[in-house]
Subunit: 405 residues, 3 copies
């Protein structure tokens, strides 16, 4: 990373310094925005035709709406728990979604990508937004608001590259990976990218600043968590063929039931009392882990995968954050490693047991490549974002928002 640092320092810092002045930065972003607006071409129309095809696309759209509720209300309110940082968390959520969707869709109109229906393309963009929001969760509170936009712009090409190589197997180096609901390419990728970016971004001063969680906002966190829970089956089944949807969605619900029960039991067993943060977070680990196998698992397997994921995730939140609190919590504000990272990789590995006829080598290569790319890309992105400066006071709305008490 040292070479990279030197390289970037010499070349980029000067440009960045110029742009730091608000006027220029605003114009730069505005021009970017305008460019995006112009470059978003009419997306490729679906090849299928007829009324049934339209009906199926509208059914996909209903799931796209469910996913959008997860992105804004789900992820947004789950991140409100950092004291004095609620406005920034919600604004960042809005901006990350708003920058990713058009830029992702623009890039996907380039010739090299497979032509798809508009809604299918849009759902793929939403998947990218979910992964980006997970990544942002790791560094939440330690960058300025406009840096979230830069984070998003840098995240997109790496995410699409991983999608191209692991999901679409564009270069025929991986093989067929089981990951319908994105345990690997959405959750684990986002979490590892975010943690790696956090490592690049974190200074000594950060390490000494404790994150205060806000007891009065825990109901908002639960609201965010419930929205994610409710709509998770639509996330996993968004692009599944219509015949496979009933089995898939029941699987996802059962995995979530399993992780919710396991989270309660593990939280009491480890801590002695229930932690509402465990309930809000680890209860969702079943959704993360079932992603890779949601359309293959039996209902019983789904519930067991969920229960194991909930247990692992709760152990992560309860044990790791106790022991290595200083290091761990500072690096990973929202604990995305516990909720998305480890359960995501566990889900990807569970496919080896669950999916009949799985290409095990491809599955392992897919996981390994995703992990490697996410870490490298995250380290790079964190370094670049850090060049745009740091907020004077971290974890605080004060510097950037009006009317803050």
């Amino acid at each position: 990373m040292c070479n990279l640092n030197t390289l970037l320092s010499s070349q980029t810092k000067q440009i960045v310094n110029l742009m730091r002045h608000k006027g220029i930065l605003s114009k730069f972003i505005f021009v970017t925005l305008f460019f995006i607006g112009c470059s978003v071409q009419l997306l490729a129309q679906s090849n299928e035709s007829g009324q049934i095809s339209s009906i199926l696309q509208v059914q996909q759209y209903d799931r796209a709406i469910h996913i959008m509720a997860m992105l804004l209300i789900g992820f947004g309110f789950l991140m409100v728990f950092v004291k004095k940082y609620g406005r920034s968390a919600l604004t960042a959520t809005f901006l990350l979604v708003s920058i990713l969707l058009p830029v992702y869709l623009s890039i996907k109109t380039l010739g090299i990508f497979e032509s798809r229906g508009e809604i299918e393309q849009f759902i793929l963009a939403e998947f990218g937004a979910a992964s980006l929001l997970i990544a942002a969760g790791a560094i939440l509170g330690r960058i300025k608001i406009f840096q979230y936009i830069i984070l998003g712009l840098l995240f997109i090409p790496f995410y699409i590259l991983n999608e191209l190589i692991v999901v679409e197997d564009y270069f025929h180096v991986i093989g067929k990976v089981a990951d319908t609901g994105g345990s690997i390419v959405i959750h684990a990728f986002g979490a590892l990218f975010g943690i790696a970016a956090a490592v690049s971004l974190t200074t000594k001063k950060d390490m000494e600043t404790p994150i205060q969680s806000d007891a009065t906002t825990d109901k908002y966190s639960i609201l965010g968590s419930m929205v994610l829970w409710i709509f998770w089956p639509s996330f996993c089944s968004a692009l599944v063929p219509v015949e496979a949807i009933p089995h898939t969605v029941v699987n996802v619900f059962l995995a979530l039931c399993g992780s919710t029960l396991a989270t309660y039991i593990a939280s009491v067993a480890i801590r002695g009392k229930v932690s509402i943060a465990d309930i809000a977070n680890a209860a969702l680990a079943g959704g993360v882990a079932i992603g890779a196998t949601c359309d293959f698992a039996t209902h019983g397997q789904a519930m067991i995968i969920g229960a194991i994921a909930g247990t692992i995730s709760t152990i992560g939140f309860a044990k790791l954050q106790d022991k290595q609190q200083k290091f761990h919590q500072i690096i990973d504000t929202c604990g995305v490693s516990n909720l998305h990272g480890i359960p995501g990789i566990f889900g990807g590995l569970a496919a080896i047991v669950v999916v009949e006829g799985l290409d095990i080598s491809a599955q392992l290569k897919g996981i390994a490549f995703t992990v490697a790319l996410a870490v490298v890309a995250g380290l790079f992105t964190g370094k670049v974002v850090s060049l745009f400066g740091r907020p004077k006071e971290i974890y605080n709305d004060f510097a950037e928002f009006q009317d803050v008490e």
Copy 2:
């Protein structure tokens, strides 16, 4: 009840005492969970085939998602009004849903039940979860968190028995009952079960502990109420044939408009001022009452049924809770008798006027059986749950949650 008490005291108390120690209890629940996981078989596939059948199932799934929003956000946040008990109420909601769905689905895979599509079966499980949440609303705040799981486990067989006898008329003793949206078998059953359980559970000390409602959480209650209002038509029309859905859903919306307007008028007329608790609760009574006739009533009838139900419910909240406040409020924390009990039975009786060619005898027998079973089962369940001990401090998160101010 004395015999029952003696019987249970001698046999069960010892087992319970053994299990009370956290270690054993946790393991017990974990093993139960594992057993459930393994026993959830692949649910029966729908008999219909082809793409249209799949499309119809996915449309049912959209309604299943709406119902899930009602269960978690709707019921959960409507119960947040008890001061200092918000975390417990939301955690209990999560656990009740997570225990009921897999256990209900497991039992329904036993040979004696009719084979159904996966989504249809899942929606029936959600109906059961709604009824259980209503029951839990009556005793909210007076049991420990893990006792909600025991409450759920005991509730399920009774609920399924009532479903078998009244809805499916398995033993041919009742006849055909009009109750599409569950006024009788979901709302009245849950409310009466909960109140009966509360009678078994309530001690003298409880009677002396006033429930403090939390003025700062009333916006959360309204949020829960609005989520229930918005998605109620999907609850009532969840399993209605596709052709009948438009008429059914408009009926449910009109019934809700009727009860909302009537609640405002009745609240001002009785109290002199509006009570936000009336608005949050009684405004929903139209949804409860229209359940029995939602697919038969004309739009005008639907609105009138809603207006009457809203008026009755508001009188219940405003008058009964004033006069018999001590007894009534202690027994029924959330006032489920006023919102689900009386409006549910009223809805069941309204079918006699509204539904042409109704088997009136069957309708009355269905209501009577449901009431009787709910009361007996509730008394029994309350007694068993009480054997597992009581929280040291009722209506308070403190004993069981970390980081409570």
Copy 3:
């Protein structure tokens, strides 16, 4: 307006005085309610037949549910920002929706209107409710709760008249107007009606009473805003033919992305810091403006329309409210002119550039007629509503709600 004033003063004031006594007023409203209930006839059935037609209607119903979430949670919680007025804002939202839907549907069963499917008719009613809620946003906090019902009753005939003339071109005086998502007839109409009503209603004393916004409720406002954002595509595509839905909904999402990014940039550029109120409001201006062209615009055009609308709206909130603060804020509590009025008219005009083969004369006549009718109707309605008295203390729940601290 003087003549109108005199006329109404002499004739209406006496009736109103009689009715002001609570008993009589309650009965009056109850009788109205009963009348509405009875007059809502079985709505006309759809002419199409067969299972596909039913499936399409159920898909419309899913969008109707999304719109209902916008009406209650979206508009309701967006209006919670006025300090000490949260209960009134949420109760008013409930009542406005509950009075408009049945009355609108009753009127539409009269012979002169085109026969439509039940869900289509219901969605048109929801459109009316959206417009009414926008109008109410302008005068929020300056009328008594029951006056919102009167406001609703007076709004409906004018709204239907505008719909008849501009949307259905019943008298063949306008021509074909492009306004699929209601930029003109829903948003601009509602905003101008509300502001005109506010002018009639506002007294000198009002001008001297500052509106205090409540910093602790800003998360509720963002929740309302996010619900509107998420479901806006369903609003615009609610009655669009099934084949056109994919393109339409992606356009709406891109317009919202554009306005969200532009709002952030404009807010920082104008104010120096971000205002969370700008984010909650102006980020939605893209949805308002894209309404007129949502099914015609290319994706690039949609994003540009959204970005311009977000910029204009933020300038409105940031500049106008600074300069003319006293006049502007008092007249327009929620700033509906900035969010719905100006962006709505901008959207209507944007169609001239975007829609090929547009009848420009019709488009301009449609906008002009809508503006003129909304202003006249609003002035009249405000005057009538003012005859029913004024609250003793404005912007305060205290006078009408129990248990207010």
